[in-house]
Amino acid sequence: MPSANAAARAQGPYENVVVRQRSMFRQIVDRLVRNRSAMIGFCILMTIVVLCLLAPVIAPEGYNAQNLLEKFLTPSLRHPCGTDNLGRDVFARILYGGRVSLFIGFASTLFAAAVGIVIGLFAGFSGGAADNIAMRFMDVLMSIPAILLAITIAAALGTGVSSAIFAIGISSIPIFARLTRAPIIQLKNEEYVEAARSINAGRLRIMFGHLLPNIMSPLIVQVTVNVALSILLAAGLSFLGMGVQPPSPEWGAIITSAMVYIIDHSYLVTMPGIAISLTVIALNLFGDGLRDCLDPRLKI
């Protein structure tokens, strides 16, 4: 080849070239570590998760150990969050309850995200009738208030953790479907998609390999927000008796059962409330940081 590329030609043999995987995960982690708000959120969240996981160690007596002689004790060293109307340690109940709440929050969100993203991808990419049918169905789902929808589903499936997850998950599907579809419609006409088609990339490869990575940022932020929302929704379900059943603790259930005593023993409500708020704030901080870190165009 003539002179134009002589300089490039003089390069070393290909064996010396290191193809770094630079996987999404590694990069994100690298950047996350340097992102202050994300790290604060992450630390708070991890503290909560670890505490909840270690509940049997921290509170070996369990969440349901009653001691009627010690009811309505204000927070102290022995009972950091006080005791409730049955003399149960509120801190222990929050720890055990957190396991349920967080599990419902994450599981229902992951379920909703998985289904919603796939629906949104196919609807947005295919367009036409398939898009119309799928999105009108999503509109119908969306037009029903989440709590009503969850109640209906929970009523049909019976109470319990798994039906709560399913009920809450379904009500979040439309958000993910819409959030996926809108940018897909815009991106599917990009030249790099056409380029992918011209090298024989199939539909699935284009959808999941080319398009999805480009729209992940808002979706991941939505996941963190949605976990928080799901935790709140689960609490609402419990309050209405359609979610997790007593005596199984769940943050919402703890709050609702304490509502009666809110005037005289407000700590019964505020303590689990603080747990919920902290989790939601931590998730949002983490989500915002994550969004920034997910964009390879950002130089940090």
């Binding site: 390069q11 070239v17 290191v18 770094r20 990009e190 090298i199 080319h210």
Partner: protein
């Protein structure tokens, strides 16, 4: 059977729009020999980009025939279409939009090979490095993302991607329009070198007449979906037959002060490609328009040996 690598006959592509049909490509025929370059030149809205997409089968044609290497590929599907795509490639105009921002240089160049080839991972790596050498990309960029590179380097990635599965034919859709002149010259030289070395045929789509003159063997000039003039590159610039081609050439600013030329300023602007009427499509802007032009659309015909033009009065200008 001729030796043409690609033969296009009466190709049409209409898009349905609310008012009727948009005639993006209307009755276009041409052929390209192996290792030759056909320049497609025209202004925005003339259908040149659509033409490239239809030839590549990225869009389906409305009517007409595409023959590639002796085989009618107008309607091939499935495995045959996949096989065809390996032999035809495209280089895009915008080096920003045509690269996936989430993929590294290596991922972008190697993808076609991992989809289409039977190469092992080390073989692919070897080939990627080889391709980067061919297009003049330093090895240190192998893990870079597009946003870390300038326009010229990005366009080199686009070229490498197109070359990766060893096509025989590449549609270059305005590959240098978005680049500065000094970078444009580098990429043009690169494309010419690649053609000389690998014997690839090009359709070179552009609005830039000096670029098309520089790179093409034959040129077709398009106006509103139709070919108005077809001619060997060198001859076009010495004499133009169709009034549009003349005006187009006279409009190009030449970087010579006090360059002596007669400028033909066209009236008005390109008319709508939706439901064009019977008459000559250039008639509304033509200085030489006659009654006949408004009633009857001219055919593309041979005015001089190997010189085609679509004008009733072409002989007058020849």
């Amino acid at each position: 059977m001729s030796t043409a690598l690609l033969q296009v006959d009466n190709l049409k592509k209409y898009f349905a729009v609310p008012q009727g049909y948009l005639h993006a490509v209307d009755d276009v025929s041409f052929s390209i020999d192996k290792a030759a370059t056909l320049g497609v030149v025209g202004e925005s809205g003339c259908g040149k980009t659509t033409l490239g997409r239809v030839v590549l089968r990225l869009l389906d044609s409305t009517d007409g025939r595409i023959v590639f290497d002796g085989e009618d590929v107008t309607h091939v599907k499935g495995a045959k279409l996949k096989a065809l795509r390996k032999r035809m490639q495209i280089i895009f105009q915008d080096p920003y939009a045509s690269l996936n921002p989430r993929k590294t240089v290596f991922q972008t160049i190697s993808e076609a090979m991992s989809i289409n080839g039977r190469l092992s991972a080390p073989e692919i790596k070897k080939r990627v490095v080889e391709l980067m050498d061919i297009v003049g990309l330093a090895q240190r960029f192998v893990n870079a993302y597009p946003h870390e590179l300038d326009g010229g380097r990005r366009q080199r990635i686009g070229v490498a991607r197109a070359l990766s599965i060893e096509p025989e034919f590449i549609v270059c859709d305005e590959p240098v329009s978005a680049l500065d002149v000094s970078i444009q010259a580098q990429i043009l030289n690169l494309l010419i070198d690649i053609q000389t070395e690998l014997g690839i045929a090009y359709i070179f789509i552009t609005h830039d007449l000096s670029v098309v003159k520089h790179i093409s063997d034959n040129i077709i000039v398009m106006y509103l979906g139709q070919v108005v003039e077809e001619v060997a590159s060198a001859e076009l610039f010495s004499r133009q037959i169709h009034p549009y081609t003349r005006a187009l050439l006279s409009a190009v600013p030449v970087p010579i002060v006090n360059y002596d030329k007669k400028r033909i300023l066209l009236k008005g602007e390109i008319s709508s490609p939706v439901n064009p009427g019977e008459g000559c499509r250039f008639a509304p802007r033509c200085d030489y328009v006659q009654d006949r032009c408004l009633e009857e659309g001219p055919e593309l015909r041979e005015i001089l040996p190997r010189r085609l033009a679509r004008c009733h009065f072409a002989e007058r200008f020849a």
